[in-house]
């Protein structure tokens, strides 16, 4: 974790060594965009100032920030952390728990289908 003077500081520039473990399936711009979204969200939800650019470059630093994000208790932060882990660090998402069968009057029924893709996108109803 990179810290200066006990505080997280925003750094500008690219003089640091490239990360050794980060996945390269995204462009640097994509990684930075995701890091920046986490930066904004963390700042508002926890008050922490992080280094978005360094997060996109250094996997160790990124992992520490993800720990912070997961302690933030915010759904959007959790979602962003999962996304970052998956597409930048290459961590496969945990499989969702198998849906438990629904019982009605002792009879097993097929679980309800998941929400329709695209639901609530551009339209509430």
């Amino acid at each position: 974790m990179a810290a200066e003077g006990g505080m997280w500081v925003a750094r500008v520039g690219n003089g640091r060594a490239p990360p050794g473990t980060g996945e390269v399936s995204m462009t640097d711009g994509d990684k930075l965009a995701l890091s920046t979204r986490m930066y904004v969200r963390l700042r508002h939800c926890t008050g922490r100032i992080t280094d978005a650019m360094w997060m996109a470059q250094n996997a160790d630093y990124a992992r520490e920030i993800l720990k912070l994000a997961r302690r933030g208790g915010d759904d959007e932060l959790l979602r962003l952390a999962d996304r970052f882990e998956e597409v930048v660090l290459g961590v496969k998402p945990k499989p969702a728990p198998a849906p438990s069968p629904a019982y009605v009057n002792g009879v097993e029924h097929e679980a309800s289908p998941l929400p329709i893709p695209g639901k609530y996108t551009g339209s509430l109803r």
């Binding site: 904004v40 508002h44 939800c45 208790g73 996108t121 339209s123 509430l124 109803r125």
Partner: protein, 436 residues
């Protein structure tokens, strides 16, 4: 407010005013025994029911549909509007809406409710000419609850992105420059739409078309929310929306049956057709949804109920059960289209479909009142042409004035929160609170 009760009121008040010292033209003093205890008891109850529609009904209805990060800000908007409009109403709003003036706006005779009186020793109290069997204090309160819910409805159109200060200023200007004049046009006996014979029993035009048109303009002026159309905006908790819709449904009996301003047979008819139209619209919305999407949804059922209630509002004192069934059926189908197909066509991010449900439902109700109004019930012939004139005049006036108010605010205080605030959510960014 219905026409026959207005004319009955005017006759009674005319007799009363002839016997008493001159006061403000809009109010008259009568003896206590001129007041109907039954009417007063019902109108006190109806007033409480309509206030419940806004707090907590509408607040919950809207809160369930926004994202978690904006729930508190959204409920606060309804609550703050309730407080703000109350003060505006007693200071100047009631006078502008319900005192004689020009055909377009009332006068200032009852600023700060001047002339509203209750003298225990003399056994006298004031009544409004429009409602001569209940104390004027009750009539002022009853009308206040309508003045509150109308701008509160509009907040659904700009949910999740408007600055709180801008919202308060907008509601202040809108209440005085749009709501009060339109209420005067339709419900004050000298208003130009009342003179034309437009039928709006409980506020389909004054409340719903008015709010729907303003909501559409707000949605355009505020612009789309960040991520609109590209990422899902998950509603926080649709169970809250169901509770809100249920409170709206029950409260609507005060809204429609209360607009008889009497505890009488017309109030009973209004209550019956309100229930029938709401239920029919729930079924028709769910049917359309089932046909189009292979399932019926909770949000659809709640939306159908509100659509039916909106559409029956102008007709509730004038139609029979057959008319209510037809209006409910049409409202469910057309408001479904308003909140889906028409919404896509218009391209505005009307967050909670204020135009799609209140604007479209209000139009459906206003026009179908011209079709299904029964002279046996209403006591007057309805004209489709007059209904259309009333509906479209209100729509364009509301839209135009809303646009001007918003332009003024945009170039002074600003309308919209910045990107960071929107991303963080209005609860935290504007109010320093959040749901954990």
């Amino acid at each position: 407010m219905n026409l026959s009760s207005r004319s009955r009121g005017l006759r009674a008040a005319g007799a009363a005013m002839a016997l008493l010292p001159a006061g403000p033209a809009a109010a008259a003093s009568v003896a206590f025994d001129q007041i109907s205890a039954g009417d007063t008891a019902w109108m006190l109850s109806a007033t409480a029911l309509v206030l419940l529609m806004t707090i907590p009904g509408l607040a919950l209805f809207y809160a369930g549909m926004v994202r978690k990060k904006n729930v508190l800000a959204t409920t606060l908007q309804s609550f703050a509007v309730c407080a703000l409009v109350t003060v505006l109403w007693v200071v100047v709003g009631y006078s502008l809406a319900f005192t004689p003036g020009s055909p377009f706006i009332g006068g200032f005779d009852q600023l700060l409710l001047r002339g509203l009186s209750y003298f225990k020793e003399a056994g006298q109290l004031s009544v409004s000419p429009i409602a001569p069997t209940i104390p004027e204090s009750v009539f002022v309160m009853y009308q206040l609850t309508f003045a509150i819910i109308t701008p509160a409805l509009i907040t659904g159109a700009f949910a999740e992105r408007m600055r709180f200060s801008a919202m308060l200023l907008f509601v202040t200007a809108w209440s005085l420059l749009v709501y009060a004049p339109v209420a005067h046009w339709v419900w004050e006996p000298g208003g130009w739409l009342a003179t034309l014979g437009a039928q709006d029993f409980a506020g389909g035009t004054v409340v719903h078309i008015n709010a729907g048109a303003a909501g559409l303009v707000c949605a355009y002026m505020l612009g789309r929310r960040d991520g609109y159309g590209s990422e899902p905006f998950m509603p926080y908790n649709l169970a809250l929306t169901l509770m809100g819709a249920s409170l709206l449904w029950v409260g609507w009996f005060g809204f429609n049956a209360g607009s008889a301003v009497a505890a009488d047979g017309r109030a009973g008819m209004a209550m019956l057709v309100t229930q029938v139209a709401a239920a029919t619209a729930v079924l028709s919305w769910m049917l359309v949804e089932w046909i189009m999407r292979k399932r019926a949804s909770l949000l659809g059922a709640c939306s159908g109920a509100v659509a039916g209630l909106v559409a029956i509002t102008p007709a509730s004192g004038f139609v029979d059960v057959g008319g209510a069934l037809a209006i409910g059926l049409a409202a469910g189908v057309l408001c479904y289209w308003g909140a889906t197909g028409l919404k896509r066509l218009l391209g505005a991010d009307d967050s909670l479909d204020v135009f799609g449900i209140h604007g479209v439902g209000g139009m459906v109700g206003a026009l179908l009142t011209g079709v299904f109004s029964s002279k046996a019930i209403s006591g007057a012939e309805a004209s489709m042409l007059v209904q259309a004139v009333g509906a479209f005049a209100t729509f364009f006036y509301s839209a135009g004035m809303t646009l001007m108010i918003l332009l003024l605010l945009r170039f002074t205080v600003g309308l919209r929160v910045n990107g960071d605030e929107e991303q963080a959510g209005l609860d935290l960014a504007l109010h320093g609170e959040r749901i954990v």
